[in-house]
């Protein structure tokens, strides 16, 4: 099954290798991996989607924590989350064949971000199945897809939940022992169910 982990890591050379190497060592295939800055200076945020047995989540999380540069790991699969992926799709299209693509883009709530005499570029954001849906519809309608670039999934938990790192910063002054206790109410009580 697919597992999704959100990891906050120190922004240092080699940290990505350490994380990727761990999955390799556990013989777990990474389906997608996105890395970018987080809300805090010097801390990167990774979303890692991996294919592994249903019981592997605990071991992967525990093993990630053994890496010295890892600040926090969240196995988010069990929680309500917003998942997004961004894709750029370049399609061959002339002025004569453009119009039906504009319609499709409208239906999928995507955008045209580049228009050239013989091609156009679509930007689409959403869950992976939505992106795959657009690609499929384009192919079925006979359009030639020239290039696809996808970011891989980014995930954020719904509701008031925040990372323990941020939690600790927000309530600075509170004894550390209390910060390290998991915030139970935030995880169970205040999950809002916004439409996606």
């Amino acid at each position: 099954m697919l597992h999704t982990f959100v990891a906050l890591v120190e922004d240092k050379p080699g940290v990505l290798t350490r994380v990727a190497s761990l999955f390799r060592r556990l013989n777990v295939n990474i389906v997608s991996l996105t890395v970018g800055r987080s809300e805090r200076e010097g801390v990167s945020r990774m979303t890692i989607v991996a294919e592994a047995s249903p019981t592997a989540g605990h071991r992967i999380t525990a093993s990630l924590y053994k890496l010295e540069n890892i600040l926090e790991v969240d196995d988010v699969g069990q929680y309500a989350c917003v998942t997004r992926e961004l894709a750029l799709i370049k399609v061959a299209a002339t002025p004569q064949t453009r119009s039906h693509i504009f319609e499709l883009v409208e239906v999928f709530r995507a955008r045209i971000v580049d228009l050239a005499p013989e091609s156009l570029m679509i930007e689409i954001t959403g869950v992976s199945s939505k992106i795959e849906g657009l690609i499929q519809v384009l192919m079925e309608s006979g359009d030639e897809i020239l290039e696809v670039a996808r970011t891989g999934r980014m995930v954020m938990r719904r509701g008031r939940h925040t990372s323990r790192v941020m939690e600790a910063m927000r309530i600075a002054g509170v004894p550390e022992a209390e910060i390290l206790e998991p915030n139970v109410t935030a995880e169970s009580g205040e999950e809002s169910q916004l439409p996606q």
Binding site: P13, G14, T17, R18, S21, R25, T55, H58, R59, T61, A62, S63, Y65, K66, L67, E68, E72, R164, L180
Partner: protein
């Protein structure tokens, strides 16, 4: 530290030594070379003993043996390129057995990093999966913080090896040195560690209600210093104790509740006790495949309590009922008040009856037939040394016989490569153990195969005139390989017969005294002369060629499906007479 004033401007090389001295390091094992020469040049200004090894692998095993024997962090040093890659096996050995060592390697200048410069190798990349953590340091001012953090990481939590790779220009540049200011942040405990009052009382309840409990004693008891607590638990609740290979010495072998080593070459009563148990209390061990046999049939009727510092080990191999994740000693301190005293246990008597049944098969109970068996040698060595020596074993048959016949009553008296099973470990590791514990008697027990993998370190022993003794269990075979070939490959002894030099002559060439032993009657006199001789002594024991380690659980079999020791081993080997 007092000897270096605060905020002194030092070269990176001086910072290396000043930081090591500040961390309490007194001994370093290493081998100089181009990219580490500035550090070697600065060494004379600092109160550190440097032991020149003959190979960098030896340096890592020495640091490892030093750490295992003393509980301190061992330090090894090497140059870039081949010096660094030679450390790989030693790092992996320390990683598998959770031994705290810090390896310092020189690296080419930061300006030429990544250009395939002479003796450049990406050692931080190579050692990524076999170190707990590693650092590439390219600036003099980063040396002290990196080294100090390396020591903290190596010994904190579940210990392990750390490598610090320092570029030559960082060694040559200068920086302000302030030992205190370079202190690392407090070690971040693994966030998934933890045990609630509920889980502790669940464990206590299982222990109170168990009728047939067994404690599984692992390396973690030694690492955490929980000997007293484990002993109190065993005595108070009358729980027999089985040990892993690395757990030997964590619980006194002469104790009436001690069962001995479990697993692939554990005695029949140990493994049968585990298979028939209704509760296993696993203390600082990780249910390695050599311990469990096939998992499907492992201790089928037992509840399992796992006390372990590494959360990644929980439910990895064996699904447990209660997991207490954290420092073993602290957890047992909380648990013990909830354990009532129990007078005697029919379960212990039942196991003792099993022991009696096995004694008739024991090779030590047979009359001397003129053959020399490794078991005799080790048993006699145990008697002669009063069980007090630090024994450093290599890997193979002799290692298992040692585990069966040398009774370790104290922690840190057995140094052996368990997880990785590194042949060639014993001789260098014993050098480390002797340097760490100069007042202790140290014996190497190695096979004729393994000793040759690192025999170059005999020269190190001679140069340092170390008073340690070497027992070679010489059977002319790679013994464990031969045994597997006998049992599982129809006696096709492919490449397992091994020709060795005359080890006594080899020792003599190094100026090391030695003796050859071929009969049982010669064992004790030879051991006596080795013990009396100041300085190193080597004994070449020519033992039975095709002897096997029993019992043995074939791979993929359950613990109770062991190949038992033959009733009379003399019949097995009579044709050699």
């Amino acid at each position: 530290m007092s000897s270096t004033p605060q905020n002194t401007r030092l070269t990176g090389s001086e910072i290396v030594w000043a930081t090591l001295v500040g961390e309490g390091v007194t001994d370093v094992f290493g081998y100089p070379g181009g990219a580490i020469l500035p550090v070697y040049d600065a060494m004379r200004k600092f109160p550190v003993r440097h032991i020149l090894t003959r190979h960098e692998q030896g340096a890592t095993h020495m640091a490892d043996g030093y750490a295992r024997a003393s509980g301190k962090v061992g330090v090894a040093m090497a140059t870039s390129g081949p010096g660094a890659t030679n450390m790989v096996t030693g790092l992996a050995t320390a990683m598998m057995d959770s031994v705290p060592i810090v390896c310092i390697t020189g690296q080419v200048s930061s300006k030429v990093l990544g250009t395939d410069a002479f003796q450049e190798v990406d050692i931080t990349g190579i050692t990524l999966p076999i170190t707990k953590h590693n650092y590439l340091v390219t600036r003099a001012e980063d040396i002290a913080p990196a080294l100090r953090e390396a020591f903290l990481v190596a010994k904190s939590g579940r210990p392990g090896p750390v490598l610090v790779d320092i570029t030559k220009d960082a060694q040559q540049a200068t920086a302000e040195f302030n030992f205190e200011a370079a202190a690392p942040k407090p070690y971040r405990p693994h966030p998934m560690r933890g045990h609630s009052a509920d889980s502790i009382s669940d464990a206590a309840k299982l222990i109170r209600e168990a009728k047939r409990p067994v404690i599984l004693a692992g390396h973690g008891i030694i690492q955490s210093g929980a000997f007293e607590q484990v002993r109190t638990l065993a005595e108070r609740a009358q729980i027999p104790v089985a040990s892993t290979l690395l757990g030997l010495g964590a619980f006194p072998a002469s104790h009436e509740l001690s069962l001995g080593m479990m697993g692939m070459h554990g005695e029949a009563w140990v493994n049968n006790a585990i298979q028939n148990a209704d509760l296993l209390v696993a203390c600082g061990m990780r249910f390695d495949d050599r311990v469990t046999g096939t998992l499907a049939t492992y201790a089928p009727n037992a509840k399992k309590v796992h006390i372990e510092i590494d959360p990644a080990e929980i439910n990895k191999n064996v699904k447990v009922d209660v997991a207490l994740v954290g420092d073993l000693r602290q957890i047992l301190e909380i648990l013990l008040p909830q354990i009532p005293t129990c007078k005697s246990s029919p379960w212990v008597r039942e196991i003792n009856e099993m022991k009696g049944e096995c004694a008739v098969r024991d090779i030590r109970n047979l009359p001397d037939n003129g053959h020399l068996y490794a078991a005799h040698v080790i048993n006699d060595l145990w008697n002669a040394t009063g069980g007090k020596a630090i024994i450093v074993t290599d890997v193979g048959q002799h290692q298992m016989w040692e585990a069966q016949y040398y009774k370790h009553d104290e922690p840190r008296t057995l140094v052996t490569s368990g997880g990785l099973g590194t042949m060639g470990f014993a001789l260098p590791a014993a050098i480390g153990a002797k340097v760490a514990c100069p007042d202790k008697e140290v014996w190497v027990i190695a096979g004729d195969g393994g000793i040759q993998m690192t025999a170059c370190e005999l020269s190190t022993i001679a140069q340092e005139n170390l008073d340690l003794n070497i027992a070679i269990i010489n059977n002319g075979f790679l013994g464990m390989v031969r045994q597997w070939q006998e049992f599982f490959y129809e006696k096709n002894y492919a490449s397992s017969p091994i020709l060795s030099p005359d080890f006594v002559k080899l020792a003599d060439a190094h100026g090391i005294a030695g003796a050859t032993v071929t009969k049982r009657s010669e064992v004790l006199p030879a051991v006596k002369s080795a013990r009396e001789k100041k300085g190193p002594f080597l004994i070449n024991f020519h033992v039975e060629k095709e002897d096997s380690v029993y019992p043995m659980i074939p791979q993929g079999k359950a613990l109770h499906e062991m190949i038992r020791r033959p009733d009379n081993p003399l019949i097995e080997t009579a044709e050699d007479a």
